[in-house]
């Protein structure tokens, strides 16, 4: 059957390139494998040539898939499920990319694209390492290609294809109106596309510019962790056990910089567009990307130890392998739906859990087979892996699944222990390597503790438990990590002043004296003139925060000083110090902005009297339109709202004025109201940025727009001066009737009249207001000028008037009032955090550049 209005060509091309990429990556893996194993150079070169062609074909295919999918989204081809599900016509151009990676398929594709880019650079640059390293990467590409393949394989669906048609996706199966004779058992109508006018749109929370840039950077970070991993595996495989570290170091630095920035861009997005009031919530998704970064950082430090002292090669292997391993694990966590209960922003489950598990399983076990000492050992590991997999599958044992992954890592550790040499002589405890190793170890273990806590849902699933997170989940992390911050910051401050091998005490003392003295003075000043207001967790935690702040200050000062004291101002070499300065700033920023975060919208005196019980000040404050409210040092007015021309998105104008008159600004937090069938609000905050802090506000509730279309009418009452009238919340008294004369003729004409009826309103709450409504006779027209009293939901309208009595219409309803409920926070020193992130990344990239330079010059020398 032919359907009208479908564009099938892009999809067919897409399918073709998916299959091509699948085949090409498999051929590339095999050919690189053969090339790496070939004994004579000719064979190796022959296979390498084939491998390169295959990988380039693969890269072109992936790029083609990417472009075609974007073409489909860009042209709103809603006959494709992906475009229908993730985009809409009203979506701005910049967000079309965001909806590209909203779905699992698109984000896998993004990952794959970065692998291609990295792979092409490696082909050009990695020389003798190309074959073994690219074997690993090509295989990962193959694994990623299966994720978007959507091929049925003995009745088992492999991957989820982004080019699936809407009519094949099952979505339309029950839409009777689209079927012939309105019968769902009949085929679709040929003109069904005429009814598919628009797509489902991008989740409004993702309609933020950070969502355009954060996923590509984060996925580049994820993708690049494979390079140090692949080098480590290549080193073990080719038994060049130490040489690989040289080319791997710049890659590891690159990965750390990009992944770190990617994670913090996510934090920035959370800060700007989510409403949990912060940038970090120890959410499983956040943790899952932080942990590989921390392990990578640990690995970079142990690698530096190895380069300078020969120690710590084994731990470098372990850390690079685990950094990538945890990237795989984080992929599983976020995409398998296992986090369901515990995370706000995981991907929806696509029913690919087995495949996601295999992704982890193979990328751990295959290297374990590959790098074994000899053929016999390889064979044994292979058998073990097959038997384990069979047991898991046949008996459906999830706990064994977890054990099997850990066993795979255990075998890799065994290979490292038995094959990689280690120096038996002990490190001096006054050497740099000793303390650097302690620092790396603390960092690594802290990552393990974080992922252990994060994995609670996994343990529940695997062992059939029902453990819920603790009462204060964030504190469960903070209470431990604050000590990690203390130790790591302290070590970061002093370790650079130690020399490798051993440090003469006099040398160390002379160098470190000055920065320590400065740090002590700065800390003392801070202690005297500033405070940390976080006392609700008791004096120990309060003290720990202070300690961590002081140590972080020490880090910043000591590393700044080291650029001159240790490196004599040679900026080329100071990448490490710069990164450490940035890291110290990040720590200070985190510590101060989190612990001194202040709720501004403390609702102590609320508009109305609270209901009696529960005098607890709440964090939400209601602002009635045009009524100025007190909020700490500010007075706030809700000025009104405006709507987005195309979307159900409203901007609320909240005017802030400080009571000392020095500051005045308007914030425009917005909310998606009942967006495309998603009932309720989805709010985005707005913030005013100051040098030292941010004022941050968002909408938690608005007056029901339906109620505003209220139909209650005026009830008329005839009153004489002094008469009183009751309304639901009090009573009012007519004060008098004034007739104004000598009115401007140009407005009122001859014989114009203006009556004014001031009414005093006595509310039950004890407030007294005066409201004056007016009635004008101008140029033979009667004009009523009603007056409103928002806080009492009253509108008074003068309907008739003479000198003795008036007729006043009274209308009261909740609908008169337009209001918003807001929360507002003050985040101090948030800029220190963002600035610190940038400086850290710059520092890491400086080191990367320096390492590439050194590698090059050592090559030309040799």
């Amino acid at each position: 059957m032919d359907y009208i209005g479908e564009h099938l060509l892009p999809g067919q091309l897409g399918h073709f390139f998916i299959v091509l990429s699948l085949v090409a990556s498999l051929v590339a893996t095999f050919a690189y494998f053969k090339s790496a194993r070939a004994v004579n150079i000719e064979d190796s070169a022959h296979w390498k040539k084939l491998a390169r062609y295959s990988f380039i074909t693969e890269a072109i295919s992936v790029l083609a898939i990417f472009i075609i999918l974007f073409y489909i989204i860009y042209n709103h081809l809603f006959e494709y499920h992906y475009a229908w599900k993730h985009s809409s016509r009203s979506l701005e151009l910049k967000y079309l990319l965001a909806c590209f990676w909203e779905g699992q398929e698109g984000s896998f594709l993004l990952w794959s694209v970065w692998h291609c880019v990295l792979g092409l650079i490696l082909i050009k640059k990695s020389k003798q390492w190309e074959a073994p390293v690219m074997t690993v990467i090509s295989f990962a590409q193959f694994a990623l290609a299966t994720m978007i393949a959507g091929i049925y394989f003995f009745g088992w669906k492999m991957g989820s294809n982004p080019f699936i048609l809407l009519r094949d996706s099952g979505v339309l199966d029950n839409a009777a109106a689209l079927h012939v004779n309105f019968d769902v058992s009949q085929p679709l109508r040929a003109d069904y596309m005429a009814s598919i006018k628009d797509g489902n749109d991008l989740n409004p929370l993702l309609q933020n510019y950070w969502m355009v840039i954060h996923p590509p950077v984060l996925f580049m970070g994820f993708a690049s962790t494979i390079v140090p991993f692949a080098y480590a595996i290549a080193g073990l495989w080719k038994k060049q056990l130490g040489e690989w570290t040289k080319p791997a170091l710049p890659w590891a630095l690159f990965s750390a910089a990009v992944l770190g920035v990617g994670i913090m861009m996510g934090a920035m997005w959370a800060y700007e567009s989510l409403t949990f009031g912060g940038y970090w919530a120890w959410d499983p998704v956040e943790n899952a990307s932080l942990v590989p970064w921390m392990i990578l950082i640990a690995g970079i430090h142990t690698l530096l130890i190895y380069k300078h002292s020969g120690y710590s090669l084994r731990s470098t292997y372990l850390f690079f392998i685990l950094a990538f391993g945890f990237v795989l694990y984080s992929t599983f966590l976020t995409r398998s739906g296992i986090l369901g209960e515990s995370s706000v922003h995981a991907f929806t489950d696509l029913g690919m859990n087995i495949q996601l598990y295999m992704f982890m399983y193979l990328l751990i076990w295959l290297p374990a087979i590959l790098v074994a000492k000899n053929f016999k050992q390889s064979r044994n590991v292979l058998m073990a892996s097959v038997i384990l997999l069979a047991l898991i599958y046949l008996f459906n044992l999830p706990w064994l699944g977890l054990i099997a992954l850990l066993t795979g890592i255990g075998i890799l550790v065994y290979h490292i222990q038995t094959q990689v040499p280690a120096i038996s002589k002990e490190e001096n405890s006054n050497s740099r390597e000793f303390w650097m190793f302690i620092g790396s170890l603390v960092f690594f273990l802290s990552a393990i503790v974080i992922i252990g806590k994060t994995s609670l849902p996994v343990f529940n699933k695997v062992f059939g438990l029902k453990i819920a997170p603790p009462e204060d989940a964030e504190y469960a992390y903070n209470s431990i990590q604050v000590y990690v911050a203390v130790i790591v910051a302290l070590l970061t401050a002093i370790t650079q002043y130690l020399k490798y091998k051993s440090t003469p005490w006099i040398y160390f003392r002379n160098k470190i004296l000055l920065p320590t003295a400065i740090a002590v003075i700065v800390s003392a000043l801070l202690f005297l003139f500033a405070d940390i207001n976080y006392t609700k967790k008791g004096p120990v935690f309060y003290g720990s925060i202070w300690l961590a702040v002081i140590c972080s200050i020490y880090t910043v000062i000591a590393n700044t000083a080291y650029i001159w004291l240790g490196l004599k101002g040679k900026l080329k070499l100071s990448g490490g110090s710069v990164a450490h300065i940035g890291f110290g700033m990040v720590l200070i920023g985190i510590l101060i902005s989190s612990s001194n975060k202040e709720v501004l919208s403390n609702n102590i005196n609320g508009i109305p009297v609270p209901l009696g019980e529960g005098e607890d000040p709440g964090e939400n404050l209601t602002l009635v339109k045009d009524v100025t409210m007190d909020m700490g040092k500010y007075s706030l007015t809700y000025l009104g709202d405006s709507s987005h021309p195309k979307k159900q998105l409203s901007y609320y104008k909240i005017h802030f004025k400080s009571k000392d008159g020095k500051e005045e600004f308007t914030l425009m937090p917005n909310s998606f109201v009942n967006y495309k069938g998603n009932e309720g609000l989805m709010s985005n905050p707005d913030a005013r940025h100051y040098w030292g802090h941010d004022v941050f506000t968002y909408i938690t509730s608005i007056s029901n727009p339906d109620k505003e279309k209220d139909t209650s009418s005026f009830r008329s009452h005839t009153l004489k001066p002094g008469d009183s009238l009751f309304y639901s919340n009090g009573f009012m008294v007519l004060q008098g009737i004034k007739e104004r004369d000598s009115l401007p003729v140009e407005i009122f004409g001859e014989n114009g009249k203006l009556f004014e009826a001031p009414v005093k309103i006595f509310s039950k709450t004890g407030s007294i207001y005066t409201v004056t409504s007016r009635l004008a006779f101008a140029k033979d027209q009667i004009m009523s000028l009603p007056d409103t009293l928002s806080s009492e939901s009253l509108i008074l309208q003068l309907q008739k008037a003479d000198n003795k009595s008036v007729e006043i219409g009274v209308r009261e309803s909740g609908a008169v009032m337009k209001y918003v409920t807001i929360k507002a926070y003050k985040f101090p020193f948030i800029r220190l955090l963002w600035g610190g992130v940038i400086i850290t990344a710059i520092g890491i990239l400086m080191s990367m550049y320096n390492r590439i330079r050194l590698n090059r010059s050592s090559k030309t020398m040799s």
Binding site: G170, V171, E471, G618, N678, E679
Partner: protein, 137 residues
């Protein structure tokens, strides 16, 4: 034994101790009945909104007072009080994770996690024709 090995053991022991302590602070997922059985203890109450009972929330009176009735899968219900703004999608949620403590006939909530029948999930569209998924002239 090397100093580093001692440090290694101490730190790993520390990490394990931290994880074990963490397990002690964890809480439980409960039904109304089991939550009532441990008054004053922090639990995750798994329930849904009882739509036959009124939701008490008036942002004008007090934006920090919400009260409603939650009912669990066994049909038991409990009055819930939450001292913050009403989660905007409370009414349409099909599942609630209420974190808090039961005491004196009330479930005092510290945070509410709403689970909504999301339009982003396919099952929704595949079930009955979703109001928004397919637009028909």
């Amino acid at each position: 034994m090397k100093k580093l090995h001692i440090a290694l053991l101490v730190l790993i022991a520390g990490a394990i101790a931290i994880l074990l302590t963490f397990l002690k602070t964890t809480s439980t997922y409960d039904t109304v009945e089991t939550a009532m059985a441990k008054p004053g203890k922090f639990v995750h109450l798994m329930a849904r909104l009882d739509k036959s009972q009124p939701i008490e929330y008036d942002a004008l009176k007090d934006p920090n007072y919400l009260s409603f009735v939650a009912v669990d899968t066994t049909g038991k219900s409990v009055k819930v009080v939450y001292h913050s703004a009403k989660p905007d999608n409370l009414e349409i949620s099909d599942k609630l994770v209420l974190k808090g403590k039961y005491d004196n006939g009330l479930f005092e909530c510290q945070s509410i996690q709403t689970k909504c029948p999301s339009k982003y999930k396919e099952e929704q569209a595949m079930g009955k024709s979703h109001p928004d998924s397919v637009k028909i002239n």
